[in-house]
């Protein structure tokens, strides 16, 4: 865990250079996806990432997979929601181009919570009898030690190398304001370090404001941050901007085929982004 003050990077591209090839990286579900950072990872040509979606993935996961950045994905599901299937994800899984670790939402959360607490494993009900158990030899069925005969699933803790996120507000101490997105806290606590973009990085200490303090990720968890205005675009940033539905439709159509997806990358991802 970083004990130094977090590095303040000039932009998402500089931040993306701090995520090494092969790292396990956690990204939370929409809204507020770290899209500027996702595009920067693709520009940097990241390879071999082991992606953990918290608990599900959408455009960010689909784009990283389509761009060849991901070796393995652990996910409760990847979908573009009402815009349709995540075609780059589905094609890559079908082709065996990425290794898939199928999960279910509360298992991802429980494993992260075990990670955040430093526990040896988490337990969860359900799942037994699902074919997921065959797909996940790392999940074990155990007897409840307090009620023999009561079988539950034991999950290994999740400790991603990096939590990647975009937040509305941050300060130079690395305090990140997450509003009601409490799963971002769980994710940052479980990860070894967090890389964050923020709509705005302000002077002063967000923890000094009692209205903001309960919804902060403390700077102790944060390795580096960079300002990225509209960094969640085209996903929504609650309280700041709405989802860009037209762009989601455009992406969903482009992602159906490898060649049109490559065109999408050339048009919207590979050119370096201008500061707003």
């Amino acid at each position: 865990m970083p004990s130094q003050p977090p590095r303040l990077e000039p932009d998402a591209d500089a931040l993306a250079r701090l995520a090494p090839d092969g790292a396990s990286v956690a990204i939370a579900k929409d809204p507020g996806a770290p899209m500027a950072l996702t595009r920067a990872l693709i520009r940097r040509g990241a390879r071999g990432l082991r992606l953990v979606t918290v608990p599900t993935g959408a455009m960010a996961a689909d784009m990283l997979i389509g761009a060849g950045c991901v070796a393995r994905i652990e996910t409760a599901g990847v979908s573009l929601g009402e815009f349709g299937p995540a075609a780059r994800f589905a094609d890559a899984v079908r082709a065996g181009a990425v290794e898939i670790r199928d999960a279910t939402c509360p298992a991802v959360y429980a494993a992260l919570q075990a990670g955040e607490k430093g526990q040896p494993f988490a337990t969860i009900r359900g799942i037994i009898g699902s074919d997921l158990m065959r797909a996940r030899p790392d999940w074990k069925v155990i007897d409840n030690p307090f009620a023999p005969g009561d079988r539950v699933v034991a999950l290994p803790p999740l400790r991603p190398d990096l939590a990647l996120m975009h937040v509305a507000l941050a300060d130079r101490r690395g305090n990140l304001w997450v509003g009601g997105r409490h799963e971002l806290k769980t994710m940052a606590h479980a990860a070894h370090a967090t890389l964050a973009t923020a709509e705005r990085i302000v002077e002063g200490d967000l923890a000094a404001d009692p209205a903001l303090a309960p919804n902060l990720i403390g700077g102790i968890y944060v390795a580096a941050l960079a300002e990225a205005p509209r960094g969640a675009w085209p996903t929504a940033m609650p309280g700041a901007y709405a989802r860009d539905d037209a762009h989601h439709r455009l992406y969903a159509a482009a992602a159906r085929r490898a060649d049109s997806f490559a065109d999408y990358l050339r048009r919207f991802v590979l050119p370096r982004e201008q500061a707003a």
């Binding site: 599900t56 409760a76 979908s79 009402e82 082709a95 279910t104 969860i124 359900g126 997921l132 799963e183």
Partner: protein, 256 residues
């Protein structure tokens, strides 16, 4: 909400019939939760909330009365028994109510790969009244056996399971699920649908009365509620769905 239904109300569309039929299955629930990609179940939950006072939590809603406290909480609520009803769909659903959200073919390199389990492999066990919803009613969707059991309909033995499948609502009919027998029974056919048509389009066997009743369309008051407050609220996570139904129902009646 209390406005009298207009006399010249256009008749219920299929979506509105499905909303009303699903709401009947939710009667008596204190807390109904709605997952992703569920506009019709979400509308049915809101309708039940308006009529009976049920609490309704909708994933993705930013409305204060329907949002939850971050992503983790919904599953904690379910684990503690604080959610009475939830909805699941599936790329495939079979006669034992096994749900497949993962894909077709041998895992992991499946011929057809769908999104994945989402919360199903947990919520199906923990929520007492899970309503399966899939508008497309074909043998493709309802095979004899699913290719991959993302979440099993019943069992297994020795596993605490307070929850499970309660009913199935499709574009053709409503079925009830008997957990003891692990078998569906036809409850009603939507207007104009025959039992033969349902059998032809279902890959699994199910029980049915000789003369199945017709799914009751919403009464005028319910229909007015669906076209008013229900649509307004479901437009938060599902604007396109709400706009489509509103356009079909014609201009909203003006206040007196």
């Amino acid at each position: 909400m209390s406005a009298a239904p207009p006399a010249d109300q256009p008749p219920a569309r299929l979506e509105e019939l499905l909303i009303a039929a699903t709401a009947r299955l939710l009667s008596g629930c204190g807390h109904i939760a709605v997952g992703v990609l569920s506009p019709i179940p979400g509308a049915a939950a809101i309708l039940t909330g308006l009529r009976e006072g049920a609490r309704v939590t909708i994933i993705g809603s930013e409305l204060p009365q329907h949002r939850s406290d971050g992503g983790v909480e919904l599953f904690d609520l379910a684990a503690q028994g604080r959610i009475d009803a939830f909805f699941l769909s599936g790329g495939q659903i079979d006669g034992r109510a096994n749900v497949n959200l993962t894909g077709i073919g041998a895992h992991p390199r499946m011929k057809v790969r769908w999104s994945g389990a989402f919360g199903s492999a947990f919520l199906y066990y923990m929520v007492p009244r899970v309503i399966l919803f899939r508008q497309e009613h074909t043998r493709r969707v309802f095979p004899e056996r699913v290719d991959f059991v993302t979440a099993p309909g019943v069992g297994p033995e020795g596993v605490l399971r307070p929850g499970g499948p309660h009913a199935l609502v499709t574009g053709l009919c409503v079925m009830r699920f008997d957990r003891g027998r692990a078998r569906f029974a036809l409850e009603s056919l939507h207007p104009g649908v025959t039992l033969e048509e349902v059998r032809d389009n279902t890959g699994f066997d199910f029980d049915a009365p000789a003369r199945p009743p017709v799914t009751a369309p919403p009464d005028p008051e319910t229909l007015a509620l669906i076209r008013g407050e229900v649509l307004r609220r479901i437009a938060d996570p599902y604007p396109a769905f709400a706009a489509g139904l509103a356009a079909a129902a014609g201009p909203e009646p003006r206040a007196q």
